[in-house]
């Protein structure tokens, strides 16, 4: 039960370049002769759709003893709104809480308790509304601090705890997980990103029907018990991933600054104050809106009989009713950025600079050339390492990432300072490499090298059946799994001229957001006491122009 953030993608450079399937046709020309023998591989996907709209993608691997199976709901944090940020990811957690028949010994009383809990929570929410008002008036410093609770709130929460205890006595704890586990299934989990939510597992090949039973049942008849304990778990996840890491909270605010209008501006984990107020009704509304079969796609990779899978799919998932309403689209388009944005942060972290640009969404015709640009800049012989790390010795690490998400995209370059190199010099060097891409055509051999790497990566991505299943769902969540087969061909067709064109088009000063992290000097007099220096500053500079060192 994890969540993906754009920050993670940007620096880990996991997607999309590393998630490429298929490969080019024969490569010729400038490469070593061996490359002319490079095989052509496409992912052999068998596809079908049930009457209710749920789609299935099948890839047989008969040599395996397992099936990696999963499904994607085409909804992520981009579908949220202020006040409900984090609900997509939190809802993902709730999908593991069982059904009417899994997770309790007394379904009737279980339902009653949930209703009684909600009635109490409604009163608790009213109390917290009052706490927020007290906070706005300056009467308390934190509306959620237990020390600030009113006696009535304390009493209501105590009553709620009693209901939780009663429900727990009826529960078969974590039965959903238990059934899978005792069947030898492994890796039960899910992940949420801004555009999709993916549920996955690997089951022994002889027990594939169990997957159909379990997954269709939790979609048909989910029960969101232990809602409020799980809400606490998600808050702990936020504390762990965002608030207790060296740059987590800064990254979150950088993201919020980068996007002006688009809902990508909040991270998938959501804002803490929203997480503390999410209600069961919010989750139920979310489920009925976004988890209809027409918004779901399943993928299976492993040892199975496709004909039997079709029958099982029809029998189990075919019983899910089609959605009654159309799944809402994310209609907000990102506003064109008018001026450079800057954030200067001080933290317990490496001194570093990152520079981001608004670019294009998934499968935009320019995204392929931008992937090549990332390939040119990255890797042991990529331009950033060659120039900034090895030749000029300004940086200890440097990387680029192309992040074309479903609805909009960005491109980032970043570098960590080596020794006492100033951030001005580092930033100027990063910018210079981008400028060089504009002014000098990419040499043919360098372009060929990047394409060779993509070919090899494409083959490697087919090795692991779980990973292949995950890629199918990931790209399907963004629009179409067929990207796996399209991408290599379209990237292979990118020319040096196109590289120059996209660099010129997107890497402009007024389209740029720059973040500079400076290591907090703990011993510097007053550094720890000054909130300004500890937390840094965020500002939007309403003027264009490039940075001068």
């Amino acid at each position: 039960m994890t969540m993906g953030t754009r920050r993670m993608q940007r620096f880990a450079r996991a997607f999309p370049l590393l998630l490429l399937g298929g490969c080019f046709g024969a490569l010729g020309g400038l490469g070593s002769p061996a490359w002319a023998e490079a095989p052509s591989v496409r992912v052999p996907v068998e596809e079908f759709t049930l009457g209710n709209g749920m789609k299935f993608l099948l890839v047989r691997r008969p040599e395996l003893s397992t099936v990696s199976a999963g499904w994607v709901a085409k909804v992520g944090s981009a579908h949220e709104r202020p006040g409900l940020t984090g609900v997509a990811h939190f809802f993902e957690h709730m999908m593991f809480k069982g059904t009417s028949t899994l997770g309790t010994r007394d379904p009737i009383r279980d339902r009653q308790i949930i209703e009684e809990q909600e009635a109490l929570q409604e009163r608790i929410r009213a109390q917290y509304a009052r706490q927020r008002e007290r906070y706005r008036l300056g009467e308390i410093d934190d509306p959620f601090d237990p020390a600030n609770r009113t006696p009535e709130l304390v009493e209501l929460e105590a009553q709620f705890e009693k209901l939780v205890e009663e429900q727990r006595r009826l529960m078969v704890k974590d039965e959903f997980d238990r059934i899978y586990r005792q069947a030898g299934a492994t890796g039960l989990n899910a992940t949420t990103n801004p555009d999709s939510t993916i549920y996955f597992i690997t089951v022994p090949a002889n027990k594939l029907e169990l997957w159909f039973w379990m997954e269709s049942e939790r979609l048909r008849d989910p029960v969101f018990r232990e809602f409020y304990a799980e809400r606490d778990v998600v808050q702990e996840e936020r504390r762990m991933r965002v608030e207790s890491t060296p740059t987590g909270r800064f990254d979150e605010q950088l993201n919020a600054m980068f996007w002006t209008a688009h809902p990508y501006k909040w991270d998938t984990i959501g804002w803490m104050s929203d997480l503390k107020t999410l209600s069961l009704a919010d989750a139920q509304e979310f489920f009925s809106t976004f988890y209809a079969p027409g918004n779901l796609t399943a993928a299976l990779v492993g040892n199975f009989d496709p004909a039997q899978v079709r029958q099982l799919a029809e029998r189990y998932f075919g019983r899910l009713p089609a959605g009654k309403r159309k799944v809402p689209e994310v209609v907000t388009l990102e506003e064109k950025q008018l001026a450079e944005k800057r954030m200067n942060a001080v933290c317990d972290c490496a001194t570093q600079v990152a520079m981001g640009f608004h670019t294009v969404p998934f499968r935009h015709r320019d995204s392929y050339a931008l992937d090549i640009v990332a390939g040119l800049l990255n890797g042991p012989t990529g331009r950033l390492r060659q120039r900034l790390v090895l030749e000029e010795r300004l940086a200890s690490r440097a990387a680029a990432s192309q992040e074309d998400l479903r609805w909009a995209g960005s491109f980032w370059v970043q570098a960590e300072a080596q020794g006492g190199v100033s951030l001005d010099r580092l930033e100027e060097a990063l910018w210079r490499e981008l400028e060089r891409l504009k002014s000098e055509p990419v040499p043919a051999r360098e372009l060929e090298k990047v394409k060779n790497q993509v070919t090899a990566t494409a083959l490697r991505n087919l090795e692991n059946p779980f990973f292949l299943m995950f890629q199918l769902l990931f790209y399907e969540g963004w629009g179409s799994w067929s990207y796996l087969n399209e991408w290599p061909e379209r990237t292979a067709a990118v020319t040096a001229e196109e590289v120059q064109r996209v660099v010129e088009r997107y890497f402009q000063p007024e389209n740029r957001t720059v973040v500079r992290y400076e290591r907090k000097m703990a011993d510097a007099p007053g550094a720890a006491e000054s909130p300004g220096s500890a937390l840094g500053t965020a500002q939007e500079v309403v003027s264009g122009g490039r940075v001068e060192s």
Binding site: V41, G184, D232, V233, S244, N303, S396, K449
Partner: protein
């Protein structure tokens, strides 16, 4: 998708031949009537016949003491080679402490044979090969991942790196600077601080498994020292190869034997490596870090194995799974996360070391005020495992889970080759995996309680917390738990903050 397109996917459709799986029963099973059982337990599954691949079938001895495991898999035109050398931090002399980490960088990045660093990297990158080196405390692993279409040249480069590293002086200066920046960052992250202090508390600061590179050593190391360490410790003696993918066994072994001929280290490694002499001191320790969560590391030394047939080893596996190793079906995850919502991550490991005692560790992250409450639960559950045997249902759940998931351990050529190579390195007997399931199934609830009583020691616990200590010690507002309530007669000690460059306590 058109049939012609499916037909082009030949690389996915070829069945590789390492072992047979009789899950085809799946395809012969007729679907039942259209009724769906009310409960998943009512589903009936065909048996999965799985035979453990015989390790000896894949094992080959090459000249010079090299052992190679080759697992062919022609489904994709890819080859993986991993070389496990009997060197690492345990071979460092006093004046060389930390040099294995520099070797890791310079072996890969310092050029090889007649290629300077840039030329070497360019050729590897152009071939789209991946070459990596990882130095550990008791081994150095070098790996090659390449398309089979360019295998001969990729092997040339890989072996040149191993045998004739240039340790280029210019690149050495860069890598030292890059490493220095990494050293500077090693007290930034609370989790990393906790992991380091935990190892120090358990194994001491002097053993090679916990020793880390310092800035002063880094400054001192030069090319001559790297050359000497490489010559002295890297060679065929004790070398284990794991080869998988699109290769023909006889041919790849001949190629590697030829390329490795005469590649011998000056010294033969003492084996097995010596364990730490440190005696852990039980108590409560804390390291300050300004974060809203406390990161908890609770436990003590585990044990080491000498006889793979010892029934206690398998009882310990089950015990740990029940305590905190089994995810949501384990007691700690259930109580700390699922019941009370105190943590996102909560679990345990019980380490059974090959050369010295492993570590028993419970870990979780919880907001400052609930760290003590979660700690209280951990103490209760350790005590409970010692006091009473687990239910038969709990034990059987773990057994079924591990036995039914067992075939996954051999589900790819690369995993198989690496598993067998690791078996060889650790000295596991040949029948280890063949007997694994039956030994696991022989574990009883009473045996679990016996090992819990023997190997879990509340009085020896080290409780380490990283975070805002004052808030952590105060406990929760509800008054359920606090430092005073869990302390007993344990000592409480603040750990010093460390200079990231030296790892010595700051004055």
């Amino acid at each position: 998708m058109s049939p012609s397109r499916i037909a082009t996917g030949v690389f996915l459709l070829v069945v590789s031949g390492w072992f047979s799986v009789a899950a085809q029963a799946q395809s012969t099973k007729k679907p039942a009537a259209s009724t769906i059982p009310a409960r998943p337990e009512q589903l009936v599954f065909p048996p999965l016949q799985f035979e453990v691949p015989e390790r000896a079938r894949f094992r080959h001895e090459l000249p010079g003491g090299v052992v190679a495991y080759v697992v062919e898999d022609r489904s994709l035109p890819l080859v993986k080679v991993q070389a496990l050398f009997r060197t690492g931090a345990f071979r460092e002399r006093p004046e060389e402490h930390g040099i294995a980490r520099l070797l890791e960088r310079m072996l890969r990045n310092g050029g090889a044979g007649d290629l300077d660093p840039r030329a070497f990297d360019e050729e590897v990158d152009f071939l789209a090969a991946r070459i990596a080196v990882q130095a550990s405390d008791t081994f150095v692993a070098a790996s090659l991942d390449t398309l089979s279409t360019v295998l001969p040249r990729a092997l040339d480069l890989f072996v040149a790196m191993l045998r004739e590293p240039r340790f280029d002086r210019g690149r050495l200066a860069v890598e030292k600077q890059v490493l220095l920046e990494e050293l500077r960052q090693r007290t930034d992250d609370a989790a990393e601080v906790g992991r380091r202090e935990w190892r120090y508390l358990l194994f001491g600061e002097e053993h090679f498994s916990t020793r880390e590179l310092t800035a002063e050593a880094l400054e001192r190391f030069d090319r001559d020292q790297l050359v000497a360490f490489h010559r002295r410790t890297l060679g065929r003696q004790g070398l284990i190869l794991a080869i998988s993918g699109d290769v023909e066994t006889k041919s790849i072994l001949a190629e590697l034997s030829r390329r490795l001929e005469g590649f011998d280290a000056v010294d033969v490694a003492p084996w097995p490596p010596a364990g730490p002499q440190w005696q852990p001191v039980p108590g409560i320790y804390y390291a300050e870090k300004d974060i809203p969560q406390g990161k908890a590391f609770l436990g003590h030394l585990g044990t080491r194995w000498t006889d793979a047939a010892d029934p206690e080893l398998y009882a310990l596996v089950v015990m740990n799974d029940i305590l905190g190793g089994g995810g949501f079906t384990s007691r700690l995850t259930r109580r700390i996360r699922s019941d009370e919502g105190l943590a996102y991550r909560a679990g345990s490991v019980f380490g059974i070391g090959p050369f010295w005692s492993g570590e028993f560790q419970v870990g979780f992250d919880s907001k400052s005020e609930t760290v003590m409450r979660a700690t209280q639960i951990v103490l209760e559950e350790i005590d409970r495992l010692r006091r009473e045997p687990p239910s038969r249902e709990e034990v059987e759940l773990v057994q079924r889970a591990l036995v039914d998931a067992f075939p996954r351990r051999f589900d790819s050529a690369a995993v198989m080759a690496r598993t067998f190579a690791e078996d060889e390195r650790l000295g596991r007997p040949f029948d280890y995996w063949n007997r694994y399931r039956e030994r696991l199934l022989a574990v009883t609830p009473e045996a679990v309680q016996q090992v819990a009583t023997k190997y879990l020691h509340p009085e020896r616990l080290i409780l380490l917390f990283v975070g805002r200590w004052e808030e952590i010690a105060r406990g929760d507002a509800a008054g359920r738990a606090s430092l005073e309530r869990i302390r007993g007669d344990r000592k409480v000690e603040a750990l010093p903050s460390r200079d990231p460059l030296t790892l010595r306590p700051k004055p």
